[in-house]
């Protein structure tokens, strides 16, 4: 009597599958809803990823280097006082070892630039041009003239917008000015040898490129630099290596990854996964009403046969499994089709969507005119997990209700 046989899973699956297609119109409607929901989840996440990637890339392009090393006080006071000597010893060794793919040093100080017409506050960058290019500066962004050609180039490269503001142009002389370590004003007349463009006008107005040697000489700092900028060509994995740099740089220097250097981008990047999950859950909640309703109706229509199965000796929990299995089948089918549809629609979009129509308004967020959606396995798995777990949780309600029927009452329902 007490033999506790399990029903063969086969009968539960057969019943669940056939019941699913009993009211095939209702099932198809629900299936469509799940497919669209899953598709929307993945598409949305892909868009978000593309958007964020754009923002981070754009942010990093402004001043390349996913990791930077500074004098500990530089962030608070980026003046030439807080500079440091060029990397050597252990730090130099790490910089020339993978995953680091390129690095360069900069002298970077706030300063003024004056034309005969106007003047602006800018950030003076004394750079090694080859190093900047290795790190990601695109010479193609030079719209007039040339980029700096050597670490002791005598020219200056300014942004298109700055040239406009200063009412100056290629070939003209301007004066750059800053404070030297002795709190004296240091200045120098330089010729504009190149005009660059940037994604953001703000960048064009802010960054002024000179050679590192020129700026060092002007500020009377022999071989001093403000920062070491380092890249491994993959901003996503920066957490994996920036601490090695930090360790090599020693306690007297500050090492920071881009997520800290640009706190806004960093936090956006950090919450991206959470945000995608939240959106997925919201989409799912919208779906779940339909799902629960579909199952409640399906169960309600089958009260009598549920009563019959119970009368014949089927345990209440098996009735529950049967409804859950039906839901699982519906959800899985929706997930398979939804994921396939999402893949089929997102992959072709990965080459870029022109959003220039709405793109102007997005520029302040660092967005360009093209969005590159990114299909991520992570998002597909996450949406699958959310739909399955929350879907089955939601299905517990109708499944539980089905299992609570009293066989005598259920059998006599008309």
């Amino acid at each position: 009597m007490a033999d506790k046989h399990s029903p063969s899973a086969g009968i539960l699956a057969t019943l669940a599958w056939r019941n699913l297609w009993r009211n095939y119109r209702r099932t198809l409607i629900m299936l469509t809803a799940i497919v669209v929901g899953v598709w929307a989840m993945i598409l949305f996440s892909a868009m978000m990823r593309g958007m964020l990637d754009e923002m981070v890339q754009a942010g990093l392009r402004v001043l390349p280097g996913e990791v930077q090393v500074h004098h500990p006080d530089y962030q608070d006071d980026p003046s030439v006082v807080n500079s440091m000597s060029a990397p050597k010893g252990k730090l130099l060794q790490v910089l020339n070892t993978p995953p680091v793919t390129a690095w360069t040093t900069r002298l970077k100080v706030p300063g003024m630039i004056s034309s005969e017409r106007d003047n602006r506050g800018v950030l003076l960058l004394g750079v090694d041009p080859a190093g900047e290019i290795a790190l990601g500066f695109d010479p193609g962004d030079i719209v007039q003239g040339r980029f700096l050609e050597s670490a002791d180039d005598k020219g200056i490269v300014i942004g298109r917008k700055l040239a406009e503001r200063l009412e100056t142009r290629l070939g003209k002389r301007v004066v750059i000015m800053s404070q030297n370590p002795y709190n004296d004003v240091a200045d120098r007349g330089v010729r504009i040898v190149g005009i660059y463009r940037a994604r953001l006008q703000a960048t064009e107005e802010l960054f002024v490129y000179t050679s590192r040697a020129l700026l060092q000489k002007m500020l009377e700092v022999e071989d001093e630099i403000s920062e070491v900028a380092i890249t491994a060509d993959n901003y996503e994995h920066v957490d994996a290596w920036w601490r090695d740099i930090d360790a090599a740089a020693g306690p007297d220097l500050d090492t920071q990854p881009w997520t800290v250097l640009d706190a806004y981008l960093g936090s956006m990047y950090e919450i991206q996964g959470t945000m995608n999950v939240i959106i997925m859950v919201i989409i799912f909640i919208a779906l779940s009403f339909g799902l629960v309703n579909t199952l409640v109706m399906a169960v309600f229509e089958r009260v009598r046969e549920i009563g019959l199965m119970m009368a014949l000796g089927m345990r209440p929990q098996w009735i529950m499994y049967q409804v859950l299995l039906e839901s699982l089948m519906l959800l899985s089918l929706g997930l398979v089709i939804g994921n396939a549809l999402a893949t089929a629609t997102v992959l072709p979009l990965e080459s870029g969507i022109d959003i220039s129509v709405v793109g102007d308004g997005l520029e302040m967020y660092g967005m360009g005119a093209t969005l590159y959606p990114t299909l991520a396995l992570e998002d597909m798995l996450m949406s699958t997990l959310i739909v399955l777990v929350l879907g089955l949780l939601a299905s517990l309600i109708p499944a539980w209700r089905a299992s609570r029927y009293n066989p005598v009452e259920a059998l006599t329902k008309t």
Binding site: A2, K4, S8, G10, P316, W318
Partner: protein, 234 residues
């Protein structure tokens, strides 16, 4: 040993302010292999008694023994197991699971009993042949006539050799020819396999088949007699 015995069963229903005695001090013993009819007008308590006997419903008080099992003391899952292994049910209507074929409906019980597939298949075909539906195994209930559906239900009820088959108004939805054929089948199975049948009915033609006729009224047994009938002589 009795296949079934009931001792002092009572069950009251409350409907609004009214209380109805569904079962009023009912005691009976049904011998193994017997062919019993439970008769009486509508509302006399036949279904209530059958449900109590089959462990579908619990009485307010009294004892029920199926074989040597105390049904009245079982919890829900024990009752479910008891129904699965020891009782065969034939209801008035809606006996079959619509999405399953005739054969699958019969196998359903064996499947939840955990009987392996090859045994199930052979047994269900054999039993379908026995109830005269040898070539109907692939049909769904909707593709079967009322009489054929009841035969499938009978096949399902007896497939796992229950102690007892309880049939509640099995012929109520059938025309008289089909009803007679179904009763012939019951009688035949009772004789050939020695299965105990308790059939609730208010159809006089059905009552003629029984060897023992129990009459109920207002939840009480008002008469209990042997009669020639058509079932096995136990």
């Amino acid at each position: 040993m009795s296949a079934l015995s009931c001792n002092k069963l009572t069950k009251t229903f409350t409907q609004g302010s009214q209380t109805i005695k569904g079962l009023d001090d009912v005691s009976i013993a049904i011998a193994e292999g017997s062919f019993v009819c439970l008769s009486g007008p509508s509302g006399s308590g036949k279904t209530t008694l059958l449900n109590a006997m089959g462990g579908l419903d619990t009485p307010d008080s009294g004892e029920i023994l199926v074989g040597d099992m105390r049904v009245d003391q079982m919890n829900k899952s024990d009752l479910a197991d008891m129904r699965l292994h020891n009782i065969g049910f034939v209801f008035q209507s809606y006996n079959l699971i619509p999405v399953l074929t005739a054969q699958e409906n019969i196998e359903f019980v064996m499947q939840i009993q955990g009987i392996p597939a090859d045994q199930r298949s052979a047994k269900s075909r054999e039993i379908l042949a026995e109830v005269g539906l040898a070539d109907h195994e692939g049909r769904r209930p909707a593709q079967l006539s009322g009489g054929q559906q009841q035969r499938v239900a009978v096949a399902r009820a007896i497939v796992s050799n229950p102690t007892l088959v309880l049939a509640d108004e099995p012929t109520a939805n059938l025309d008289s020819v089909t009803a007679t054929q179904l009763m012939d089948l019951f009688a035949e199975l009772n004789q050939s396999r020695g299965i105990t049948f308790v059939i609730a009915t208010h159809d006089a033609r059905v009552m003629e088949y029984c060897r023992r006729l129990i009459k109920m009224e207002d939840g009480k047994i008002i008469s209990d007699q042997e009669q020639p009938g058509r079932g096995a002589n136990v």
